[in-house]
Symmetry: C2
Subunit: 365 residues, 2 copies
């Protein structure tokens, strides 16, 4: 459906473009569009053909190329094709490539507070994140934090609320988590460690085998659409919601600062606008596609979908507060970003109580 | 804060642009950007300086101009400056102006099903609307419906969940609505008419006086940020939520088909992408600014905020089903769009139950 939609969109533009050339006579030709051409490389943290994520990045590059009449030509590489996934940050920072796509929380080893620019456990959902980043000072703060690393970040993509993960046994109480080995990165891992889980970090390609062989007992990944493709249902049958650990992760486009400064204002605006549009597009794709995948998991592969018990969620939430405070004590920037995030979030939550939350309630009256 | 943020953004682009010219040497100059220049007019349905709505349209025009190196120059007019608000559709359709900005449900006199492309009572919220439009076939359907009118529509802006409105007395039961004269347009008006309300249509500039003089007993408008500016709190003290009548209205950019077809592919893509980015920006602004305005209304102007009683909402929801079915019987396209909207919505709701809704619940555990 994505390819199909994308194709329709391209046809819409193309068809109109052909009509346009005839009607307008002197239509623009790419050759007159720019005096200087830029050939850039973008490396992502995603496997090749990783749906929505990698699609969204390619769509962004296509849009930029088209909008700039070919003046900014971005070649997209998947993880490992040019740069290993977890070296994306360094490669863009050093200018080996001009652009990268991934998620801020992959770099918390270097910049602990980068987690806030993706998602923190029990944090804001996609709508809240976008409001904070675009209209609440979040993006300015993000740019400040990334500046010493020669990176200019842009929000670009969001998965919406993720799933809580796959377990090989039922989780009835917080005690059932004790001793489990679970693939869960970042702050989510630190939080669940307080419940006695041993959190491990594995790249997407390694998860299935580890779960199937029992090297790990549980894993979180993304949501139904991506989890189904990874075949995780063949290795674990208990599928939990909601994704308390990642309630609306923002993906990031990073641009090397020197490369960014070399761009003329027109191309800067094209990059910024295309990233914002891709941000919207990716979330819409997730929202539109997760349910069909979930139906398939349930009806074709007999997956059981479970809600985490309230008590488990309540305790994980308490652990989250502890972890955030501990991290804030260790790192000044973490505290600064936590404070800014929390202040915005408090306001946003209070508005949600009488808007989104109150409205959602009417659906079950 | 909007102007401030916008200014910061401009400075960010400009500062980098100056650095860029020095670094790159041969930076693009606008004069080489395009062989043909387009000078277009855009008329909106909003009053001049109407915050977020009119700001968002100006921002869009600025972005397009900058991205195209001045090849597409869009001059923005507020309602009445060139074309009266409610003649926007006709003006763009006839090509008097090339572009318009407003909301589909303003045109339900001509195209009853246009309501679905904005918002219908008890319908999808902003996130659901975007998923439907961009990734669920909604936009294709919208373009098909507008095609006979020579209009090409684009989603551009969303207010999020609105407020339910201002009343001069408390609403304790559905009976309390009987006999009230209320400013409430479109399908919301038809629904509430079933509760005995006399719905009237007034432009923004007329509402305050009508409410203050008692010509009307109640009104809905937008949300705290806009309602406060209109001074409605001086004429009514009961402020109700949630906005069951408009749970996430999508605003529209319309382009005259002939003008659209005259544009070269580069500029088409620039318009499409800038509209998508503006769509995101406007929602983020609403989400970020409503609460401060609400605090001001409550603390400075002693406004009382009330939830509609469950029973009132339940009945209005029942009336909504009746109205939608009645309209579907009268109009083939209405039925067609209702069916497509409902099918997508059913899927989206089912996903929301284990994603957004389940996650929102964790906040009050």
């Amino acid at each position: 459906m994505s390819d199909n939609n994308n194709m329709k969109r391209r046809q819409f533009i193309k068809r109109a473009a052909v009509a346009g050339s005839i009607a307008a006579g002197a239509a623009l030709s790419p050759s007159v569009y720019a005096a200087k051409r830029f050939n850039w490389k973008l490396t992502t943290t995603w496997p090749p053909n990783f749906p929505i994520f990698q699609d969204g990045v390619k769509r962004f590059a296509d849009d930029v190329k088209k909008m700039s009449g070919g003046a900014l030509n971005i070649q997209v590489f998947a993880a490992g094709e040019l740069v290993p996934a977890m070296q994306t940050f360094d490669a863009v920072s050093q200018g080996t490539v001009q652009m990268g796509h991934g998620a801020g929380y992959y770099w918390i080893g270097k910049i602990p507070c980068a987690a806030f620019f993706t998602s923190v456990p029990f944090g804001m959902n996609a709508q809240g994140m976008n409001a904070w980043l675009y209209s609440g000072g979040g993006l300015e703060l993000w740019r400040e934090i990334y500046a010493p690393h020669n990176l200019v970040p842009f929000p670009m993509g969001n998965t919406g609320v993720q799933m809580g993960g796959w377990f090989r046994k039922e989780i009835k109480s917080i005690e059932d988590l004790k001793g489990l080995k679970m693939r869960i990165p970042g702050l989510g891992g630190k939080v669940i460690a307080k419940a006695g889980v041993n959190p491990v970090l594995l790249a997407g390609g390694e998860i299935y085998t580890a779960l199937e062989r029992g090297t790990i007992d549980a894993t979180e990944w993304v949501g139904p659409y991506h989890d189904e493709r990874l075949g995780l249902y063949r290795a674990a049958k208990f599928y939990y919601y909601p994704g308390w650990q990642e309630p609306g992760p923002t993906l990031e486009l990073t641009v090397n600062r020197k490369a960014w400064e070399d761009l003329p204002a027109e191309l800067k605006m094209i990059v910024e606008t295309a990233a914002m549009a891709s941000n919207m597009w990716m979330l819409s794709e997730f929202e539109a596609k997760n349910l069909d995948a979930l139906d398939k998991l349930k009806n074709k592969f007999n997956v059981q979908v479970y809600a985490f018990p309230d008590d488990v969620l309540r305790q994980l939430r308490q652990f989250t507060t502890e972890v955030l405070n501990e991290e804030a004590e260790k790192d000044k920037d973490f505290k600064r970003v936590l404070d800014a995030y929390s202040a915005f979030r408090k306001t946003n939550d209070a508005w949600s109580v009488i808007s989104e939350a109150a409205y959602a309630r009417t659906q079950s009256l």
